[in-house]
Structure formats: C-alpha cells, structure tokens
C-alpha cells in the first residue's frame, strides 16, 4: 500500500469515516456540475425531499449540449433548450453559482474550474464527468462520478469510495520540437493499455512534467481516465502557485493565498513516499503520437509503422483487427498521409490558450486544404476572448478555420457539430471511440493541437516537424 503520497494525505484529510461496506466516506471540497449528468440527480433529490447540503461548494456550467454557433435563446434544438432550462431551474432553487454564457465565464467544466481558481491543491473535486481527472494537475484529488454519486454529493457533501493504489509515472528528459504533453499521455496509454490504470491513481512526476506549464499538466491528467486510472495528479509547485495567484479567487482573496500555501506544501508527496508501482518514461525519445485505431491506447509514433494485430498481446488482437478495418489502415504503414476530412481543435484536453497559440503558429500564413472542414472551439469564453484580442481568431479565420463559441462541441457530438458519414477527423480531443464524434462510421485520429493544424493544412495526417522545417528555411 502506498504511503506518504499526495493521494494518501488528501484522502486522510477528507475521510469522514469508514462505512459498513468497507468503503470510506470522503468529504468533497468542490462539486462541479453540468447539464447532462446532473438533472437526474436533482430529480432523485426531489423524489426524496432532500436539499443540496453544500451549495457554496458547488459550481455549475453548461458545455456538452450548448450550441457553439448561434446561441440565441431559446436554443434551436429543443432538447438542448430543455436541458439548459432544467439546469437553470436547479441551480436557482439550490443557490448554486452558475457560469452561464451570459457571464462571460462559461466553458468546458474542466477549463473553467482552474481558470476561476476553484480548482486548488489538496481539494477533493468531483464532477459527473470522467475527465474530472484534469483538475489533478493542481495537486487536487479529482475524479469522475456517476449520477447516483452526484445525488450523494448533492445530498451529503460526500462520496463513498474505496482507496486505490498509486502508480508513479516518472517522465524525465526534454521534449522535442513539435512534441507535447498530449504525446506523453498518448504514449503512456499506448504502453500501459486502456485498462492498465484500473485500480490505480497516477502520480505524474519527473523533470519533463515539472517543465510543463499548467495547461500541459492538465492535458496529461485529463487523459488519465483513458488509461483506466480514475484520477491522476501532479504535485503542486511554483508553476502551480503562479497560476493560482492570477485567478479570480485569489485576486479577490489575496490573504487566502498565504494562508493556504502551507496546506498545499503539506500535501505534496514526501521524498520517501512509497508507491505501489513505478513506471519510467524517457521524454527525449518521444515523437508526436497519433492514434490508428478506435481506443486511445491504439497509438503510434508518427514515423513508426502501425502494428500488425498478430504482433499484439492475444487479448488485444481482435479489437485491433476490428479497429483497423473501421479506420481502413494497413499494418506496416505509418499514419502519415492518412486523408482527413475534418480538423477539430477543441475539448478539455487541448483547447486552452497555449494550445491555440501553438496551432496558430503553424497555421499562420497558410491555408486549410480545400477538402477539409476545420473548426476551432475554444475551451471557455475567457480563452475565446483573450484569443480574439491576441488576433488568433483572425489567424485561424484567414486560414479557413471556423471560429466557434466555447463548449464540448465535436469532442462528443451532442450539439450540431458532428462528423458525417465516414468522415475522418484529425482531433485534439481525447476519445476516438466509434461513434464518439456523432457518426458511427466516423473515423477519429487523436493528436496534439499542432499536429491538428498541420493535418488541416495538408489534408492528411502530417508530421508537424516537417512543416516547421519549411518555416525555418
């Protein structure tokens, strides 16, 4: 059993009691809610005549179904309007703060929490959304929960959970040009498998992680769940504190910053902490990773050949065969040159400012391929606003990208942004499951945002490092 890790410490600080089931009852410091997974939980609360126990530790936004084009109310899509109205009613009744689109603070739940300073080290954070693991980038213990658990948190301020094991993933070295945090996590999932993390929480450590900004750390923690780990975290450090100091919460309560800092320091993993498992990855060796299949674990370096199913472990062969058929890729070839129809730059993995900036650098002065539909969907209204001020919007639009309002959009195709037929999409999101982007014949290739930009320009999956060389000549 692990000892002295951030996970152990935060768990102990929040444990209320051990329940008769053997599970621990854990106090929840921040409960984020959105329109898709919360209405049923509020319904259950009403059925039982219960109230929201900790409304001030709860925060709502709207992201999954919200339209990213025309946002006039009522929304054109009736179901979307119903869900929005339901959420508005629920938060009003309970007195929960709501970053709705009229506030200018709306966005994907995992983008706005960190932006506003709601996400802090040493907090327990839950949301009815599996990518809640994102918030672990700040040294929070953050995990996705189901709707019945949302009901529990609403009604009691706690969840029932079993403690997990801790795997330290030590990533040392320096990332090459064109290689990003996204590639680190795609590589981790490729190596350890989509279920490799089941039963574990991942601690990401090492010089490559320390060198990353908060956005990169968020991209990595975000996809912990794709590797089967319900939570992932990075120990808080100066980079974390610098981010926090700039957020609304600490701008409004500067005294809190000094007050809380000792707590943040105290929950860092000890030097001699014990882990259940340690995995090492050499950052120097990484190149941009893209997926060739229909799970995030089916990835490959951009210059490496797509594996033959028979070369994979026995239990992976069937899935690989079916995935290759769906994607229409051949083992032995690389993903370079794979034709795409759509380029999607967005999602809680990669739609923060630095993501858009890096992609814009590649786009600048170039044109999107004639056969490609390309869209940028900023992660939040604030990202959008800053990006517009910086001129990124113009760069993207001049190149032929559509510039949208903030939301989940084509990451899961619940609003009008969907793949059609068997379109192939170069996507900065986190899931390439069949049907994920709205069409069951659609084909998703996951990659980092610069790689999405490069694919949009060439109309094919492209090694962005080749484009960079052209610019520097």
């Amino acid at each position: 059993m692990s000892e002295g890790t951030l996970y152990d410490k935060v768990w102990d600080r929040h444990k209320v009691t051990t329940l008769p089931t053997g599970q621990d009852q854990l106090f929840i410091g921040l409960h984020l809610i959105h329109e898709v997974t919360s209405p049923q939980a509020f319904g259950m609360l009403r059925e039982r005549d219960l109230e929201v126990a900790y409304p001030e530790l709860t925060h709502a936004t709207v992201d999954h179904i919200v339209p990213t084009a025309n946002r006039d109310r009522p929304y054109e899509n009736e179901a979307a309007e119903t869900m929005m109205a339901e959420l508005e009613e629920n938060v009003r009744e309970a007195g929960i703060e709501f970053s709705d689109p009229t506030t200018g603070d709306q966005g994907i739940v995992h983008v706005i929490g960190p932006e506003q300073g709601l996400t802090q080290p040493g907090k327990t954070i839950v949301c009815g959304d599996s990518h809640t693991s994102t918030h672990g980038a700040f040294g929070a213990l953050a995990f996705g929960i189901g709707t019945s658990q949302i009901r529990d948190v609403l009604a009691t301020g706690t969840v029932a959970m079993e403690k997990q094991k801790v795997r330290k993933i030590q990533i040392d070295g320096e990332l090459d040009e064109g290689v990003e945090a996204k590639d680190i996590i795609l590589e981790i999932i490729r190596r350890l498998g989509t279920e490799g993390g089941v039963g574990y929480v991942y601690e990401y450590a090492g010089s490559a992680i320390e060198d990353l900004g908060m956005e990169g750390r968020m991209s990595i923690c975000n996809m912990s769940i794709e590797g089967g780990a319900r939570a992932g975290y990075v120990n808080p450090d100066e980079t974390t504190y610098e981010w926090l100091e700039e957020t609304d919460y600490f701008q409004e309560n500067p005294e809190k910053f000094e007050e809380l800092k000792p707590y943040w320091e105290s929950i860092r993993s000890d030097e001699d902490a014990e882990y259940d498992d340690v995995v090492r990855i050499d950052a120097d060796e990484l190149e941009p990773v893209v997926t060739w299949g229909t799970t995030p674990g089916q990835g490959v370096g951009i210059t490496d050949p797509i594996p033959a199913p028979e070369d994979l472990p026995a239990d992976k062969q069937d899935t690989a065969r079916r995935a290759q058929e769906h994607m229409r890729v051949e083992p032995g070839e690389t993903m370079e040159g794979y034709e795409i129809d759509v380029a999607f730059l967005g999602s809680c993995t990669n739609a923060r400012l630095p993501d858009l900036r890096r992609a814009a650098e590649i786009i600048d002065g170039r044109q999107v391929d004639d056969d490609v539909r390309a869209l940028v969907v900023p992660g939040s209204q604030r990202v959008q606003e800053t990006a517009e001020k910086e001129g990124l919007k113009d760069t993207f639009e001049e190149a032929g990208f559509e510039w949208r309002n903030a939301g989940c959009s084509m990451c899961l195709g619940m609003n009008e942004d969907q793949l059609e037929g068997d379109e192939a999409c170069a996507s900065s999101s986190n899931r390439n499951f069949i049907g994920r982007q709205g069409s069951k014949d659609g084909r998703t290739v996951l990659m980092n945002p610069q790689m999405v930009a490069a694919a949009a320009i060439n109309g094919t999956v492209t090694d962005v490092r080749d484009l960079k060389e052209v610019t520097t000549v």
């Binding site: 009691t17 049923q40 599996s130 009691t156 809380l260 992976k316």
Partner: protein
Amino acid sequence: MTDDGDDVEIPEVDYVSGSGVPIRGNDIDTDQIIPARFMKVVTFDGLGEFAFFDVRFDEDDNQKDHPFNEDRYQDSSVLVVNSNFGCGSSREHAPQSLMRWGIDAIIGESFAEIFAGNCLALGIPTVTADSETIQDLQDWVDDNPDGKIDVDVEAETVTYGGMTVDVTVDDAQRKALVDGVWDTTALMKSNAGAVREKAEELPYVADAAIPDAE
C-alpha cells in the same frame, strides 16, 4: 449528531437469477452502450430501447446482428461480457439503459471502475471471472438461450447447466449488495454531523459554506 435519514427501503441483492445474453468483445465503451445523442434527456426513463443503439441498427433503422435484437434473448437478464466493459465516459445512462432493457446482473472478465460503481448504485452486481470461464459461459448461453444462470453474490459463485464456477465480487460491492447498503445516500446522510466537523477542519472550506446543524 445524526440527521433524519430518508426511509427508502433498500433491497438486498444477494442473488440474481435469469437467462443470459452474451455480448462479445473487449473495451466496449459507454458511448457504444448508449450513444451520446440519447443523453439529451432529463430523466432516465425510456433509455432501455436505446441500449447499444448504433450497433443494433443501421442508418435506416434496420436491425443489425446483435444479441439485443435476437428474439431468443429478449427475456434475458444476465449479461455476459469480456474485458474492460463500460470504459470511457462516466455516464450513468449506460447502466441505466441496460437495466431498463432488462439486465439485473453482469458477468465479465473485467469492468471499468466508474461503470462498476454506477452499476452498484443501481443494485446491479458486476461479477468477474477469468477469460476462459467467461468464454465457456458465453458459448453455453449461445446454445442455451433459455438456460438459467444463478449468480450468488454472497458465495461468489455462478451456477449454470448443472455446473458451479467460482467468480469474484469486489469486497465492498459484495457487502453493499448483500447487506442492502448500496444506496449510499441514506447511509452517508446519517453522518452529517461528522461531515460538518470534517469540513470545519479543512483550511480551504469557508465557515459560511458549512450548513448549520439541523
């Protein structure tokens, strides 16, 4: 220090019995179990008919080959799956749609954690066994669509066709199901006083955010 819990009766689930339905394949994700477009609803009612929708129907809503479409499985209640079943999105809509289709228990090689937790919250056991055991069971179900499968949650066994095999039920899950304490809301609400004390100890929780004792 106790609040009034609510008085919902929580049934004990120590035993599930019914005929089986096999769904083969590893890494079957929740997007497949219930595609996102069917989540534009504010209640879970009626989700049953959309279970596995995109693998059951083609573009023109014609039925495709899928066990959930086969007549012989229409009354089945024990789902038999392979590894990492229910991975991906945390949507409780997935087990809700399976439950509303008629599933009372799932036997598989392994389950994604959030999915298994969501099942538990609905009183659906997620029971595991090695891949050989599962394949044998799937084959047997193919040949015996009306054959009864008994899942004994407490004893951690599955009995079918006159044979009993050992399976594993996660300890906490077993206890919760067998003792009828899987509905955690009531259980945890009775500790409201201790929860408030915990909140007071945490440096980041403002006093104003902590509710008064009832």
